[in-house]
């Protein structure tokens, strides 16, 4: 067995040496694949079989090219450790050269945003959300890589997620741990989605701008609140440079976990039952399973109830890279949400803003927005609520339980120190259900009741 494993150690660069030839067609990948479970027409095994037989060695002829979630569940359980996500990534890069376009959701708006961000001359105004009560630095050892949250906050305003609450909560948590992070006015999208869609050139442009800025800021530790940013900066930027990064990249959960262990951060009590969604990028891609769980465990009164599929067996949130959102995505999300609800948890905690968007969309459609159903919250937002001396709840990322008085009052809270009041003029400020009469939330909600 060990010989076999050695034989198929990841061979990185070209498709021919990706290790897919090690596949012995056991079909375990197809059996496990969350997509295949809801779509019998999708089979990673078959894709590999064809690729190995030379039908389309680069994989681009496959109908399933854009379907894979690249969640890595198959790789986790593959007896030969075939790097299927990596194979898909390479195949998509080849497809880009053949003018094959991914089925972008939202009309490709987010991809267009990312591509616009490759322009070096941009002078973004992406830090409006930083309020006076948040401590930041111009130069310093720690840099918070905010990612696309300001854009998501606008683009997904109708979902009522208030994605910038993740950013302000992150800064607040870092402040509580004694860190005043550097924020970059000219930060770009990390490029994760473009990379996984095969747009390697654009990814390189974004990465180059980001790397240059991080180095100019002199940061030694880069913190992300997004699992995808964490993976991309840690792994793919390093691959791009071809050498170890001159700084350390940590997801917020990792950093806070260290700070709690070192006694530099502690949380107050939070009487809630939660369950945790392992983001693919944080879990299977980076192997970070314990840090978020230890953090949740360090909050007094917080009960973590695991879903049947968790940690390395966690099921993906159903969509990746803003492509291929369809009925299969919804079926995966529906099943995952019902798993979460079955744990008896009040809050589904994620550590990736995109998991939040995808789940939230389905929650409207599946009727989870009513009070009493399981609600959704980012890890950072949840933890910032548990900071001992914190007053009102931070910006609400999702309506919480009726038993929590703070959830009811947060949107109308008038105290200026609270995170909920950060940048009050912004569109994502209030829960969208109250703001826009014809918003997507209404539409989605009423369509659920119509069913």
């Amino acid at each position: 067995m060990s010989e076999v494993r050695q034989r198929q150690e990841p061979r990185t660069t070209d498709a021919g040496s990706l290790g897919i030839q090690a596949c012995y067609q056991c079909g375990r990948c197809t059996g496990l694949c969350p997509l295949a479970r809801v779509d019998s027409g999708y089979s990673p095994r078959r894709v590999l079989s064809r690729a190995c037989q030379g039908d389309s060695p680069d994989g681009i002829q496959s109908d399933s090219l854009w379907s894979c979630l690249t969640c890595g569940l198959c790789q986790q359980h593959c007896p030969m450790s075939v790097a299927y996500p990596e194979f898909v990534k390479q195949a998509r890069a080849s497809a880009a050269g053949h003018d094959l376009e991914p089925p972008c959701s939202h009309g490709g708006a987010l991809q267009n945003l990312m591509k616009l961000m490759t322009r070096p001359e941009l002078r973004q105004k992406r830090l409006d959300w930083v309020t006076d009560d948040l401590q930041t630095s111009r130069q310093g050892s720690h840099l918070y890589f905010v990612g696309c949250l300001p854009y998501f906050d606008v683009f997904f305003a109708k979902l009522g997620l208030g994605q910038l609450g993740i950013a302000s909560s992150t800064v607040r948590l870092l402040n509580a741990a004694g860190i005043a992070p550097v924020l970059l006015e000219r930060e770009r999208c990390c490029g994760h989605d473009l990379l996984w869609e095969g747009q390697v050139e654009d990814f390189r442009k974004l990465a180059a701008i980001n790397l240059q800025q991080i180095q100019e800021a002199g940061a030694r530790t880069v913190v992300t609140s997004c699992a995808e940013c964490a993976r991309t900066l840690k792994r793919d930027y390093a691959d791009l440079l071809g050498k170890p990064l001159p700084f350390e990249v940590k997801h917020l959960a990792e950093l806070l976990d260290e700070k709690v262990a070192a006694g530099q951060l502690s949380f107050g009590a939070l009487e809630e039952k939660v369950t945790y969604q392992d983001p693919c990028r944080l879990g299977r891609h980076l192997g970070i399973y314990d840090a978020p769980r230890r953090l949740l465990g360090s909050v007094e009164g917080l009960q973590l109830r695991e879903m049947p599929h968790s940690r390395s067996n966690a099921i993906c949130c159903g969509t990746s890279c803003w492509t291929g959102c369809d009925r299969r995505s919804r079926a995966i999300q529906r099943d995952r949400l019902s798993s979460a609800a079955a744990t008896g948890a009040e809050v589904l905690v994620t550590a990736c803003p995109k998991c939040a968007v995808h789940f939230r969309c389905s929650m409207y459609q599946e009727g989870y927005i009513e009070e009493g159903a399981v609600q959704l919250q980012d890890l950072a937002v949840l933890l910032s609520r548990a900071i001992a001396d914190e007053g009102p709840a931070p910006r609400d990322s999702s309506p919480r339980q009726p038993s929590k008085t703070s959830s009811k009052t947060a949107p109308s809270e008038g105290q200026p120190s609270g995170g909920a009041e950060a940048s009050p003029k912004k569109s994502g400020e209030e829960p969208c259900r109250r703001k826009k009469k014809t918003g997507i939330s209404e539409l989605a909600c009423s369509s659920v009741t119509a069913d």
């Binding site: 490709g108 941009l122 973004q124 369809d326 997507i440 369509s447």
Partner: protein, 783 residues
């Protein structure tokens, strides 16, 4: 009919059918089609006239085809367009938004349009049957029977007691509502089909009913003798008084040219159309005043609608809850009426509240001319000698409700003679029914046709279309003769819609329900490749999914793929062919990408999208092409890109944006503001890339960002004002897309002037003026 019914179709689709196409002589390709209930207007019409179909055709400027469609169910369109009581308009869903579509006026327009063209001589249908049918009475019921039977190959002779054919149309209805030349033209159009007419011959008096069979050799007789016998009103001391005249007799003599005025202060008793016509006619004869006494209130009055308003406008006074009790006379001549006031009591047999006189409420109305118009019955005593012709208790001819067969074999009856006085369209409906029965009788000798001949009357149950956002628009009003001019002339009061007004009015139609099979595809296909059927290739054509473009001519069929060649004639008369079945401008769903969120269904202003079953237990959106108007607003809100509209899909728009010249300016406009793009190009040269879409609401932030990403210097989004949006919420959605994109641009640090929203009024003319007047150009319009 039911064999192709599928559970996959939405609830309100009642039956399925198949479209049959024979591409290149190969065997028929059967395509599933969806048959849905008719639209409310059609269901409301007693004769089942395909209202939505002909209104749509008028809206598309296809007047001839529209009239042909009307004629399938209504042989007297010009008359009907003038005097029908228009149950279709009462049912019109546009009325829930503002005012019903002026359906009657449209029918009148299109019929008059044809009359004005001096149509080429009609080719009579071939005589294929030896049997001859006698039609007694040349009113609408009789003419319909004659027209239907002649089309079925029978010989038909129409007998008319008066010298002029038309029945009550001629005898009872005044010229200012229905000009005689219109009646003559429409009657002539039926005679031109080969119908024989014999006037001045009263069956029952001059010729016996049985003689028609025995000596004349007719195979069947239709009695459409109308209700010409005035009902008597018993008023104390009212016998033999000069100045008391029967209303119908009065109308008859005036219509025959006897325009004597027998008094100066006229009182009309009654509340029906005859009463109204009497009052208005008396005015034209020069009385000083005329008042109508009606024993119930305005709500119960049989006459209603625009005629009442017109009468009031001309000076007719209405007094409700009044009954005449006695006649006061001097020298044998009426000088006044003693009247009683009424209250309304319990319901009577007619379902209306019975008037109850108030004791002691007597009062005197001075008058020297009383016209009694309190109802009519058929002259059924004509046939008393043939005792076996039974009468109803009300004195009308007794006929089977379905087959209209009387108690005499081979004798059928319909129209007012059976129903009592009703509307022209009811008489036409009865005529159709009788024609079916007569043919069946001549085929089989059975007086009652097989019950399968009678389709159940469809009810518009569960057919609710959410027209929440239907744009309000004013109903077109026909110009009218000024009131002053009406006093002394019998010229027609209503002057008809102009062509432009008619097309505008027709375009107000919300086009509820399916297209109802205009069958243009079949009649235009020279090679007869296209056939529409329900349940089988030879079955009678049923409902179908074709669309007629709102403007611009052409023919669009349901998207079925490359299945054959359609040959058709364009509006200019040129012969065209289309090698594939043409795509309509409707949205469609890529089922595999739909995640069943339902946003599209909630957004669609036309209720064209429903959620149906999909794979993996996830619902899937389905577009009903007949309801969809292709605006694409749903498209811009769809998160997955599953819903696309033909011609304006994501990739079609993206295609326009590829290879933009450097520093170009992209103008997205709805098609109502497409002039903006051409204007800007004319004014500023090639720097503008114009991307027209159906509705500005189709443009999502994605398209705006795409344009900028493709290198556009600036992006302009042109829309209509929200309340004038032609597509429900489209303009509002455009605003939301603009807001989102503008905020994203702000975050990106792009200058705000690079994205502009221009809101332009509904009229293209106003738009051009607006742009030409605003010398500042675009800068002045920045929102």
């Amino acid at each position: 009919m039911g064999d192709t019914t599928s559970e996959e179709w939405p609830r309100w689709i009642t039956s399925g059918g198949r479209l049959s196409i024979s591409p290149g002589g190969r065997p028929d390709v059967q395509l599933p089609i969806q048959a849905v209930e008719a639209s409310p207007c059609t269901l409301a019409c007693p004769a089942g006239v395909n209202v939505k179909g002909y209104v749509s055709l008028i809206g598309a400027g296809r007047f001839q085809e529209s009239l042909e469609l009307i004629r399938r169910d209504c042989p007297l369109p010009s008359i009907c367009g003038r005097i029908c009581h228009r149950p279709c308009e009462a049912a019109c869903r546009r009325g829930q938004t503002d005012h019903p579509v002026a359906i009657g006026d449209l029918k009148r327009f299109v019929a008059d349009y044809e009359l004005s063209l001096r149509r080429a001589a009609t080719v009579p249908p071939a005589r294929t049957r030896p049997e001859r049918v006698a039609v007694v009475g040349s009113g609408p019921a009789g003419l319909t029977v004659a027209s239907d039977l002649v089309h079925r190959g029978f010989g038909v002779t129409v007998f008319e007691a008066f010298s002029e054919p038309g029945g009550m149309l001629v005898q009872g209805i005044p010229e200012f509502r229905l000009p005689r030349e219109i009646i003559r033209a429409e009657v002539q159009s039926i005679l031109d089909l080969g119908v024989e007419l014999r006037t001045g011959l009263k069956i029952g008096r001059d010729v016996g009913l049985s003689e028609l069979f025995e000596s004349e050799g007719f195979g069947a007789v239709f009695l459409g003798i109308g209700a010409h016998l005035p009902r008597k009103l018993q008023i104390r001391d009212g016998e033999g008084v000069e100045g008391i005249e029967d209303g119908l007799e009065f109308m008859r003599r005036v219509n025959a040219g006897d325009r004597r005025r027998t008094g100066r202060h006229a009182v009309v008793i009654g509340g029906g159309h005859t009463a109204l016509d009497c009052a208005r006619t008396a005015l034209r004869l020069g009385v000083e005043d005329v008042q109508v006494l009606y024993r119930r209130t305005a709500q119960e009055m049989p006459a209603a609608g625009p005629e009442v308003e017109e009468a009031e406008g001309e000076g007719v006074r209405f007094n409700f809850l009044r009954s005449p009790a006695a006649v006061l006379r001097r020298g044998g001549r009426v000088i006044a009426l003693e009247c009683l006031e009424n209250t309304l009591g319990p319901l009577d047999a007619s379902g209306r509240r019975r008037p109850v006189p108030v004791l002691g409420s007597q009062y005197i109305v001075e008058t020297d001319w009383v016209l009694l118009a309190v109802g009519q019955t058929p002259e059924s005593d004509l046939f008393d000698q043939t005792a076996s012709l039974q009468l109803s208790p009300a004195g009308t001819l007794a006929a089977d409700a379905d087959s209209l067969a009387t108690s005499l074999p081979g004798v059928f009856a319909g129209g007012d003679a059976v129903t009592g006085p009703k509307s022209v369209i009811d008489a036409i409906a009865q005529g159709h029914r009788a024609a079916v029965s007569i043919e069946s009788f001549l085929d089989t000798g059975m007086r009652q046709p097989a019950s399968a001949e009678w389709e159940p009357i469809p009810q518009p149950a569960e057919f609710e279309i959410p027209h929440r956002w239907a744009q309000r628009s004013e109903r077109q009003r026909m110009p009218q003769l000024p009131v002053a001019e009406r006093q002394a002339t019998f010229r027609e009061v209503n002057l008809g819609l102009s062509q432009r007004a008619a097309m505008r009015e027709a375009q107000r139609c919300l086009r509820c329900g399916p297209c109802r099979e205009c069958s243009l595809c079949t009649s235009n296909c020279n090679k007869k490749h296209v056939r529409l059927s329900l349940g089988g290739p030879d079955a009678e054509a049923g409902t179908f999914l074709l669309r007629i473009p709102k403007e611009g001519g052409g023919l669009a069929a349901y998207r079925t793929g490359n299945l054959g060649t359609l040959h058709w004639t364009s509006r200019t008369g040129a012969t065209r062919q289309t090698s594939t079945v043409v795509h309509p401008l409707t949205c469609w769903v890529r089922g595999e990408r739909c995640r069943g969120c339902g946003i599209c269904a909630e957004t669609c202003a036309y209720g064209a999208i429903t959620l149906g079953p999909g794979a993996a237990g996830v619902a899937s959106a389905q577009v009903e092409p007949e309801l969809c108007k292709g605006c694409g607003v749903c498209m811009s809100l769809c998160p997955t890109g599953a819903i696309q509209s033909a011609g304006f899909s994501d990739w079609a728009v993206a295609g326009r944006l590829r290879r933009l010249p450097p520093n170009s300016k992209v103008v997205f406009s709805c098609r109502f503001n497409a002039a903006v793009g051409s204007f800007l190009q004319a004014r500023h040269g090639d720097g503008f890339e114009h991307v027209p879409v159906m509705c500005a609401g189709r443009i999502a932030p994605a398209q705006i960002l795409e344009a900028l990403e493709a290198g556009a210097q600036r992006v302009l989004l042109v829309r209509c004002p929200p309340r004038d949006c032609h597509y429900g919420s489209g303009s509002q959605v455009a605003q939301e897309s603009f807001d989102t994109a503008a905020e994203l641009l702000r975050l990106l640090g792009l200058e705000p002037h690079r994205l502009q929203l221009l809101t332009v009024g509904p009229e293209g003319d106003a738009l051009r003026e607006y742009l030409q007047e605003s010398s500042g150009g675009l800068e002045a319009t920045h929102v």
